[in-house]
């Protein structure tokens, strides 16, 4: 897997995407499909390496919920950046199922998509090939404020405006 943007920095990724555990060292960090997790749960749990799950945007967060305590990472693959199902998946994993591990967006990910994705609970990103990292990083700061409640900021603007008023600050 190519380098990952985490905390607005490029970091090297340790996860190996695998379809089976054959020949994989027990301490390797692995990224597995849902099917493998469902059939080899105990084996995966017994390994010392980190565990990540690969999801497509059509997958159901509720089916994933039972495995979340085992996971260090959930990857959501965007075949197209215009597929908003992935945004709902991240919010549900964070807000409904309380997942605190890394949620990583991969696939059709670039500068314009980072602002929305990060507000939905994605905290790691792999840019599609050919994108400038430096340019993309600016994508996080395009907007300095947002109206809605989000994973990043659970209180919507209208509540924060209210708080500012009651503290005597300018709204």
């Amino acid at each position: 897997m190519p380098d990952v943007i985490r905390n607005r920095r490029i970091e090297t990724d340790s996860f190996l995407r695998v379809e089976s555990l054959d020949g994989v060292a027990p301490d390797a960090d692995v990224l597995v499909p849902l099917a493998l997790l469902a059939t080899q749960r105990d084996v995966l749990q017994a390994r010392s390496g980190k565990l990540g799950l690969w999801l497509e945007t059509a997958d159901e967060p509720v089916e994933v919920a039972q495995y979340l305590p085992l996971l260090d990472l959930v990857v959501v693959h965007f075949a197209s950046f215009a597929d908003g199902r992935g945004h709902s998946i991240a919010r549900l994993l964070r807000e409904r199922h309380g997942f605190r591990g890394e949620i990583r967006a991969v696939g059709d990910v670039f500068k314009e998509t980072l602002f929305y994705l990060s507000r939905c609970g994605f905290d790691a990103f792999v840019l599609r090939p050919g994108e400038s990292v430096e340019e993309a990083l600016k994508g996080f700061d395009v907007f300095s404020e947002a109206y809605q409640a989000s994973v990043e900021r659970p209180s919507p603007l209208f509540r924060r405006r209210q708080a500012a008023v009651s503290k005597g600050l300018p709204a």
Partner: protein, 559 residues
């Protein structure tokens, strides 16, 4: 109207900077055509037949005079001097240059306007009753809630990439003037017996190629829960709406496929998780929005028609007609709302020139409180006019060409821009509208025919709302030629879809066909109050069909 605070302004300014950057990178070849498309669409920019088309939002149809002057300036400086008011309380400019669009957006931002989410697969401009806050039949002024929805839907992180576009309409009066039954979500603001304000929630209505009347998913949703409930609906749609076929991607298809009952259960289950969460609306926020709405300071005027008005009504027939058709009852004694018809014969429905926009802005300042409304019927409205000023205003409007007394009548045609401008269109709309207006130009005849909505769309995307016209005309393409399919019996309120009368007709046959429909109606009506749509309801399609296709001069072409 809502006045931005520093944060609202900053968000719009940052959007301008973002779009400037995106346009720059696109023109420099750093963003591909395919990637730029959804990005520009989320900012209302289409690449059209002749040039880009920029659609600017007029949130819930309310404009200040300085905003209208800015639109006039944009029409003059960046377009060819005209703007087109659409059926969704937007204005469209048909001739801007792509390179100049960031500058146009920057100009709009100086008067608290934008083009955010006026297109694309996201939540679009929220629309409402064009008489909101002034109509005599109003239960609730829906505009505070519209602003609440505007803010909630602006750059919503989860719902920026829905399966398809998403339109919300709110109505708060007895008469539904917001077409709420044919929107993705329709909201009826209502007051419960105990005085609590809430909404009847309708989902899954829509026009387009699969027209449907929406389903009520909740009879009464208390106002506090408005945003969490909208989130629940949108989340169910975002996750389960079809993405494999754009013609089956609207929420109406999902509601139908799931069945309304199951869809409702899904929404309620989702809402059970969101209810009372942080998005629960607080009273202070409604009060904050209300405080930022500039409300007119009405004078204390006596009820009843003042002498000037009575005199004009008695003495001038033209004024009487205009008063009957274009003047609407107001909540406040001594005031009225005036509809400016953008449907004079020979003009493209909904079009206004820069000079006309400036002149209307002046009239709004002089006779009103500097406010103008835009209706989904593509007319402008001066909402707060002293009744004593009506005769003088009428004279001014006449000079401007905005006093055609045809509101609610056959020539008040709703029409999309059609094939003259739009690249989606299968056929032209404007010349057909003009031909019909010319045929029915005689006012006596128009008045005799009485109330009749005639709507024209140039393709089945139905921007001209043809399905809910008493007479609907749909442009279709047959072997590269323009044809027109006619429906009758549609209506907006109560929401009813028109039915096709038969094979489509050529361009030049349309006025004759309308003439034939009107002929049947006039012969069959029992009394002057029985409207065209009532007669269609009573008699069915057959007599109308017979007459249209019996026309010897009409060369009927079968599909």
């Amino acid at each position: 109207m809502y006045q931005y605070d520093e944060i609202d302004q900053r968000i719009v300014d940052e959007r301008v900077a973002q779009f400037r950057d995106q346009t720059r990178r696109f023109l420099a070849g750093q963003i591909s055509e395919d990637d730029f498309r959804p990005l520009r669409l989320q900012n209302g920019l289409y690449i059209q037949r002749h040039a880009p088309m920029l659609r600017v939002a007029i949130p819930y149809g309310v404009l200040a005079s300085r905003q209208l002057r800015k639109l006039a300036h944009i029409a003059r400086a960046y377009d060819r001097g005209t703007g087109h008011f659409s059926t969704r309380q937007n204005i469209q400019f048909n001739w801007p240059q792509l390179e100049q669009v960031p500058d146009i957006l920057a100009e709009l931002a100086t008067v608290q306007m934008h083009a955010i989410q006026t297109s694309g697969n996201c939540v679009r401009n929220t629309t409402t009753d064009h008489f909101a806050g002034v109509a005599a039949d109003e239960l609730i002024d829906p505009r505070v809630y519209c602003e609440l929805i505007r803010q909630w839907s602006t750059f919503h992180p989860e719902f920026a990439f829905l399966p398809r576009k998403f339109k919300i309409a709110v109505n708060g009066a007895l008469e539904d003037r917001a077409a709420t039954w044919v929107h993705d979500i329709g909201l009826h603001a209502v007051r419960a017996d105990d005085g609590e304000i809430g909404f009847r929630v309708i989902v899954g209505g829509g026009l387009g190629r699969t027209p449907m009347i929406g389903t009520v998913v909740r009879e009464f949703l208390p106002w506090r829960h408005l945003l969490t409930y909208l989130e629940a609906i949108l989340r169910v749609y975002n996750r389960y709406g079809r993405r494999d076929n754009k013609h089956k991607a609207r929420i109406k298809i999902l509601v139908k496929a799931m069945t309304p009952e199951r869809f409702q259960r899904e929404v309620e289950a989702e809402w059970a998780q969101l209810q009372d969460g942080p998005n629960t609306v607080v009273e202070e926020e409604l009060a904050r929005i209300e405080a930022r709405m500039l409300r007119p300071r009405y004078e204390n005027l006596p009820d009843g028609a003042p002498a000037e008005l009575q005199r004009a009504l008695q003495e001038e027939r033209a004024f009487r007609r205009w008063h009957e058709r274009n003047v609407h009852a107001h909540q406040v004694p001594g005031y009225a709302s005036v509809v400016l018809s953008l449907k004079a014969t020979g003009r493209a429905p909904g079009d206004a020139t820069a000079e006309q926009m400036d002149a209307v802005a002046d009239l709004a300042d002089r006779y009103g409180f500097g406010e103008i409304r835009v209706s989904h019927e593509q007319n402008l409205i001066l909402p707060d006019i002293r009744q004593a000023d009506l005769p003088e205003l009428h004279a001014q409007l006449k000079a401007l060409g905005f006093a055609t007394p045809n509101i609610g009548l056959l020539t008040n045609i709703i029409s999309c821009p059609g094939g003259d401008f739009c690249s989606l269109a299968n056929a032209r709309s404007i010349p057909v509208a003009q031909a019909i207006q010319q045929r029915f130009d005689d006012l006596d005849r128009l008045y005799d025919i009485g109330e009749l909505d005639l709507n024209i769309s140039g393709c089945m995307n139905a921007c001209g709302h043809h399905h809910v016209g008493n007479i609907g005309i749909l442009g279709v393409d047959k072997h590269g030629s323009e044809f027109y399919q006619i429906t009758i019996g549609g209506s907006q309120a109560p929401a009813r879809l028109g039915r096709v009368i038969g094979p489509s007709l050529g361009h030049e046959e349309v006025p004759d066909a309308i003439e034939a429909l009107i002929g049947v109606y006039l012969e069959a009506r029992l009394h002057a109050e029985e409207r065209f749509v009532d007669v269609v309801e009573r008699l069915g399609l057959e007599p109308f069909r017979e007459r249209v296709y019996a026309q010897p001069e009409a060369e009927v072409l079968y599909a």
